[in-house]
């Protein structure tokens, strides 16, 4: 059965259904979107059950010729990394639809259009992780900018069009750098046994180290903008602040993961030598992202910007884990990508509800929320704790793995990054104190607590955060073989522990 194509077609089918719905029937549009995303989620889980976790090759492979004169195929397949990310994306989609039930109303266009864009985006989110043909990957990588652009610019708030344009321009510039590298790969493959975009064949190309370095940079900068890693991060806070909470979840939770996923799938696999050459620089950028993102978050006044800054810090951890070149670091980074999706989703969704109730996104406006809306306040608190990686919540496991994995090879970086954890406590607990505790700010007395729909939307997210915090091993068992495989492909073995380990 063609699982991956099926997964990609389902949301499109849902979008088509919504498109033909009669005008003005907003409720039906929302319900169809919810049903579609739930079906996609169920199908993804059904597919994941059949995944052989000890097999490090691509699974559920599909391949059809697309543009034969350039050797381009419509080729799909997943390894554990892609599978985990697709799983994350398809679980987040219904959560976002349910949580943001009313967020399309302030838009420039109809509610129908909003859900069509969301569903088209879901197709591309699956495709971008499943593509095993570099050209196909690039096409989806670029094409998925368009729905996001319209989601931010059409349904966001504040300076939404400026933010949308900034997002698009940054991404396009990165994309074009990657295109130049892809063209170079294509031409080289033609000189070495036939034009192809097959990732496995491209990884066997012979090239000089100079070429490899340049091409690596083309890919890496594109992914670093996407992720985003300092100093390419400046578009993210604007975009996150202007987008609707649901869009922000997809933007930070899923789209940004394409950047870190790309680092593993494309940078490390295609250019192992160049990856080693640039590792010291990239690790420094990652450490700066961790610390700098945390400081920005501490000083943030706006709750959405705060979450965006925390993500910059978190992406620093993920990047550090990827380039630490140890299997723990790699597993930690992959697990981190998954967990970050849910902890950011929880933060953004709860923050979104707070903002829509209060009509303001300034943290200082939310004093005393605990007393007025206890469930809302507790959920925010829990989401915050997950973001600061409290032991017992899912992010802790991944952050710990990344730090351990980095420490064995780069102790100094790991130690500096550990300060990121301390700073995380500050950037989460300060807003919690300001917004949840203390006397009730005038005007907040009548804020409503979460309703049933909102509770239903956030419950699975919280459940995943807690369950994976205590019992991450089912996921780790899937991830570990893939992580070890990546590292061994690169020619690395884990350094032996220096002390103990008898």
């Amino acid at each position: 059965m063609k699982w991956l194509t099926l997964l990609m077609l389902l949301p499109l089918a849902g979008a088509a259904v919504i498109a033909v719905l009669p005008k003005g029937n907003e409720k039906a549009a929302k319900q169809s979107a919810l049903v579609t995303t739930l079906v996609v989620m169920t199908a993804t889980i059904a597919m994941a059950v059949g995944f052989q976790r000890d097999n490090v090759d691509l699974q559920f492979v599909e391949k059809y010729s697309w543009i034969p004169s350039f050797g381009i195929n419509y080729a799909l397949g997943v390894d554990a990394i892609a599978l985990v990310l697709i799983l994350m994306s398809t679980i987040l989609a219904p959560v976002v639809v349910l949580a943001g039930w009313n967020e399309a109303h302030g838009g420039r266009w109809s509610v129908k259009t909003f859900y069509i864009l969301i569903l088209v985006l879901e197709t591309m989110m699956i495709g971008v992780f499943a593509a095993t043909d570099v050209f196909l990957f690039y096409v989806i990588f670029e094409a998925m900018l368009i729905p996001v652009y319209f989601l931010i610019g059409g349904y966001g708030s504040g300076e939404r069009s400026a933010a949308a344009v900034k997002f698009l321009i940054y991404s396009l510039v990165g994309g074009l750098l990657m295109l130049a590298s892809i063209i170079a790969l294509y031409v080289m493959s033609g000189a070495q046994g036939g034009h192809t975009f097959d990732i496995n064949k491209l990884s066997q190309l012979q090239m000089s180290s100079m070429t490899q370095n340049l091409l690596f940079l083309g890919f890496f900068i594109a992914f670093a903008i996407k992720a985003p890693v300092w100093p390419f991060h400046t578009w993210l806070p604007d975009a996150a602040q202007s987008a609707t909470p649901g869009t922000s979840v997809l933007l930070l939770g899923v789209l940004d993961k394409v950047g870190t996923f790309g680092m593993i799938r494309y940078c490390l696999t295609l250019f192992p030598e160049a990856s080693k050459t640039f590792t010291p620089v990239i690790l420094i950028l990652a450490v700066i992202s961790i610390v700098y993102g945390a400081f920005l978050a501490i000083s943030a006044k706006d709750i959405k910007r705060l979450i965006a800054y925390t993500s910059i810090s978190h992406f620093g951890f993920i990047t550090m884990g990827i380039f630490a070149m140890t299997s723990q670091g790699q597993s930690g980074a992959i697990l981190y990508m998954f967990n970050h999706g849910f902890s950011t989703a929880a933060l953004f969704l709860v923050a979104g509800w707070m903002i829509s109730r209060r009509g303001s996104s300034t943290i200082a406006d939310f004093g005393g929320l605990q007393r007025v809306a206890p469930v809302l306040a507790w959920t925010f608190f829990l989401a915050g704790l997950s973001s600061l990686a409290l032991p017992g919540l899912s992010s802790f496991v991944s952050e710990f793995l990344v730090l351990v994995g980095t420490f064995t090879r780069y102790p100094v970086h790991a130690i500096i990054a550990t300060f990121g954890i301390v700073l995380a406590a500050l950037y989460i607990l300060i807003p919690v104190q300001k917004a949840l505790h203390g006397p009730t700010t005038p005007g907040n007395e009548n804020l409503k607590d979460l309703n049933l729909r909102e509770k239903l939307a956030i419950a699975p997210v919280i459940a995943i955060i807690v369950v994976l915090g205590f019992y991450p091993s089912p996921l780790l068992k899937v991830i570990n073989p893939a992580a070890t495989h990546v590292i061994s492909q690169m020619g690395f073995t884990d350094p032996a522990p220096t002390n103990g380990g008898k």
């Binding site: 010729s65 697309w66 543009i67 034969p68 004169s69 350039f70 420039r108 690039y138 096409v139 989806i140 670029e142 094409a143 900018l145 368009i146 319209f150 610019g153 059409g154 939404r160 069009s161 949308a164 344009v165 698009l168 321009i169 396009l172 510039v173 074009l176 750098l177 295109l179 130049a180 063209i183 170079a184 294509y186 031409v187 033609g190």
Partner: protein
């Protein structure tokens, strides 16, 4: 004394003969058919002629005898592809020309004169534009199949002269239109002179005016290289003028802006195909062995053209001028396909020309729809909020802009990818890097227009959108469908081009 009749191979000439015949009948229609019937008769005649030419072209695509009219015309795979592209573009452009609203009621009258007012009041409709179009198309299809310098020059003039006239026919802003026509004519005449000058030197170098003769002289060497270099340089100036490459581009923004929009659409799309078609044949066959002498210069021109076109486009406040500068940037991209000088470059350039031509006609078709009481509105500030008032116009325009910007899943992306990879393959890495850079710059102003249309609220003096006539609507829809289809599944056309595009030397 015996007399042998020259072998003309009428079948190979038939598409051109059909077009010229149609044009001549069109002139007779002007003379003998009543005013009321003329528009309908002319439209039917023109479309019929173009369709007939396409059908005839399709029938002769596999012909064995390859040169016609005693070797002055050569008909090979690229010739077929380029002629077919020109004819298809011409057909969808005629859909736009059919809206006579764009043309002056009495072009000979002084702007603002009593005579003009009377012509407007009497509902006079100009129909001479149809035969002019057919004459221009005949010249265009002849341009890429010319096999000697004289035929090439005749074709150049045949396509240019009607265009000079058509540029001056605009109904609104007639002075600007006439200025555009005059400017186009004068600069065009200059470039023709350069062209002839170059042709004379090439004759001096090789003692031949046929492409085969010049190529043999270059391959054999031994001639005076100075003559060859001067010849190549001046001939190139003539051709580069037609495609609007920097520094021979200064006419294009004014002419694009001043000419009636349907004419701009036709000119921008079809002239580019014809001129690049001729360039491909000349550089790929005649000058191929003198590659060392022209690739560096042409690479420089390509780089400057891309960068300047994209940079200056950012500052434009008028949609037609913006599209003019964007077309200059695209001329630069297309030049990188000429520089590539390999099979992939040939295929890519032909694909790019077709994809770009279709999107260009579509984009200008949308421009004709955005009007207020005084006619077309080309000031970008008044396009604000178009997405709200006319989703059809705004969405299709956005699609064409995305194609120009080379966003995946549009034809523009496949074109850009194929042309840049061909250039990279030939070692022109600098051109590719400049191309990628200017694509990034260009993306900026394309997106700005999308922002204006969708994310900005309309101003007080907003424009209204004409309910599109069926033909205009058809050309927008056709262009949009082709743009998406070639972006999603370009394989059939790419394979078709790859199999056919082989120059006969």
């Amino acid at each position: 004394m015996s007399f042998t009749a020259p072998v003309l191979s009428y079948s190979l000439l038939s598409p051109m003969l059909i077009l010229l015949g149609g044009a001549l009948i069109g002139v007779l229609v002007e003379a003998f058919v009543s005013k009321a019937l003329r528009p309908a008769v002319q439209l039917t005649l023109t479309l019929g002629t173009l369709l007939l030419a396409v059908m005839q072209l399709w029938r002769i695509r596999g012909q064995q005898s390859l040169t016609a009219a005693v070797g002055t015309i050569v008909f090979d795979g690229p010739a077929f592809l380029l002629q077919a592209s020109i004819l298809i573009i011409a057909i969808i452009s005629v859909f736009l020309i059919a809206d006579t609203e764009h043309f002056a009621a009495l072009p000979a009258a002084l702007p603002g004169s009593e005579e003009e007012r009377q012509a407007v009041q009497s509902g006079n409709q100009i129909t001479e534009v149809y035969p002019l179009t057919l004459f221009a198309v005949a010249g265009m299809v002849m341009f890429p199949v010319a096999n000697d310098l004289i035929t090439l020059f005749v074709a150049l003039e045949m396509l240019s002269l009607p265009l000079y006239l058509m540029a001056g026919l605009s109904r609104r802003r007639r002075l600007a239109s006439q200025e555009a026509a005059l400017k186009y004519f004068l600069l065009g005449a200059f470039s023709s002179a350069f062209f002839l000058f170059g042709a004379a030197y090439l004759y001096g170098y090789s003692a031949s005016i046929t492409f085969a003769g010049i190529r043999e002289a270059i391959v054999g060497g031994g001639g005076n290289d100075v003559l060859l270099l001067i010849g190549i340089a001046f001939l190139s100036i003539g051709l580069l003028f037609k495609v609007g490459a920097v520094p021979f581009h200064s006419w294009s923004p004014d002419v694009y802006q001043g000419a009636p929009t349907p004419v701009t659409a036709f000119m921008a799309a079809a002239t580019k195909i014809a001129a690049f078609g001729a360039m491909l044949r000349i550089y790929y066959t005649v000058f191929a062995n003198a590659q060392w002498s022209w690739t560096p210069v042409l690479s420089g021109i390509a780089i400057v053209t891309m960068l300047l076109g994209s940079l200056v486009a950012i500052a434009q406040r008028d949609v037609k001028r913006m599209l003019a500068y964007s077309s200059i940037a695209h001329a630069g991209f297309l030049l990188s396909g000429v520089i590539a000088l390999n099979k992939a470059g040939l295929d890519a350039t032909i694909f790019y020309l077709f994809a770009y031509g279709v999107a260009t006609v579509g984009a200008f078709a949308v421009v004709t729809l955005v009007r207020d009481s005084a006619g077309e509105v080309t000031d970008l500030n008044r396009w604000k909020g178009l997405g709200k008032r006319s989703p059809f116009a705004a969405t299709s325009f956005a699609l064409f802009l995305l194609a120009f910007a080379g966003i995946p899943l549009t034809s523009g992306f496949i074109g850009k990818f194929s042309i840049f990879s061909a250039a990279y393959e030939s070692g022109a890495k600098g051109v590719v890097i400049a191309g990628v850079l200017s694509s990034a710059i260009a993306a900026f102003f394309y997106i700005r227009v999308i922002v204006l249309m969708f994310f900005t609220d309309a101003t007080e003096d907003g424009t209204s959108v004409e309910i599109p006539s069926i033909l205009t609507q058809a050309s927008v829809v056709i262009a949009a469908v082709v743009t998406v289809a070639l972006g999603v599944y370009p394989a059939p056309l790419l394979d078709f081009i790859t199999n056919l595009a082989i120059f006969i030397r």
